[in-house]
């Protein structure tokens, strides 16, 4: 049973993701949602992070001006949950993406942010590869040609996410850790 506070956190993060997605709808493949999902997983655990990703896509993928396609929606839901799962794993494996409060200096902050940027880059690449493979199979498009055609979008997505994770990832994690979810984590 998921505690009420955790559920509220999931709902708030999901609505934040949906709102920012619609705000950025005109800019293909540049979304801050991925960072929010990762941070949710980092702060509240893999399951919560994955849930934020899946719920966001269930709304955004269904009510979307670019159209609706069930297999693609399933793929994006699964792909988005990678961010939440890896966010949770990063916290669990103590990857030190956030410097300890006692040893905060500009160098450790930079290294921590860089680690977050690297994680953001790699998870995004996995997400893009996974969703492109599924889309190619669903629409019966030659896989290699489809991936080559999607390269500009992949570059945009991975680089934008690298910068989002690098620039605001640490700040967001620290902010969210200070509010209620930290208490929830102890439940």
């Amino acid at each position: 049973m998921i505690p009420v506070k955790k559920l509220s956190f999931i709902a708030i993060m999901t609505s934040l993701c949906i709102t920012t997605n619609y705000l950025l709808i005109g800019i293909p493949n540049i979304k801050v949602m991925d960072l929010f999902v990762f941070v949710s997983g980092y702060v509240m655990g893999s399951l919560s992070g994955a849930l934020v990703g899946v719920l966001t896509w269930l709304v955004y993928g269904t009510i979307n001006p670019y159209g609706f396609n069930l297999p693609t929606l399933v793929a994006t839901c699964i792909g988005e949950s990678f961010y939440g799962i890896f966010g949770g794993l990063s916290a669990k494996l103590s990857l030190k993406v956030i410097p300890e409060q006692a040893h905060i200096d500009s160098k450790s902050l930079f290294i921590g942010s860089l680690k977050l940027g690297i994680l953001g880059f790699l998870i995004t690449f996995m997400y893009d590869l996974f969703t492109n493979v599924v889309t190619a199979f669903v629409f019966e498009i030659p896989l290699f040609a489809w991936i080559i055609l999607g390269v500009p979008f992949i570059i945009t997505h991975v680089l934008s996410n690298f910068f989002f994770f690098f620039l605001v990832g640490g700040l967001l994690i620290n902010t969210l850790k200070k509010i209620s979810p930290l208490e929830v984590k102890n439940h």
């Binding site: 690297i118 880059f121 790699l122 690449f125 080559i148 390269v151 570059i155 680089l159 690298f162």
Partner: protein, 149 residues
């Protein structure tokens, strides 16, 4: 430490791989466009472009813009290229009796005009279609009509 360095290198590898694929793809695309442009330019050395209008006299008009024909081609040659025609040969040259199956109506004839870009008017063809040599950029028309004369 080495774990993160490896991940960073992996990111670099992915980024450079993606960028290489992208630019390779672009170079292939532009190479194709360049080759096509060269081919078109070579073709223009021996060919020219003309515009032909076929007016069936029933409201239907058919434009054949930028039709590529060999230099020195006559209106008759071009018409034969773009449409199925019936014709007879007389002492003044060929006389078109039907274009794409339209013709044979008593009192109606296929007449041809040339567009005068200076006066911005259609001018009736002065000779038979096989005696009129076209030039690059010419605009001509075939009109199925009942002459006023």
């Amino acid at each position: 430490m080495w774990f993160w360095v490896s991940l960073a290198l992996l990111c670099g590898l992915i980024a450079s791989g993606c960028i290489s694929i992208y630019y390779y793809n672009e170079s292939v695309k532009y190479q194709k466009l360049y080759n096509q442009a060269v081919k078109d330019l070579r073709h223009l050395k021996s060919h020219m472009l003309v515009n032909v209008l076929i007016d069936y006299g029933n409201g239907t008009q058919e434009w054949h813009n930028e039709t590529r024909v060999p230099i020195g081609a006559t209106l008759f040659d071009v018409t034969r290229e773009i449409a199925k025609i019936n014709y007879t040969k007389g002492q003044f040259g060929v006389f078109i009796t039907a274009i794409n199956g339209r013709g044979g109506k008593p009192g109606y004839y296929w007449l041809w005009y040339t567009w005068n870009s200076t006066s911005a008017e259609w001018e009736i063809g002065p000779v038979a279609a096989d005696a009129f040599t076209l030039h690059h950029g010419d605009t001509v028309s075939w009109v199925y009509e009942k002459p006023s004369w």
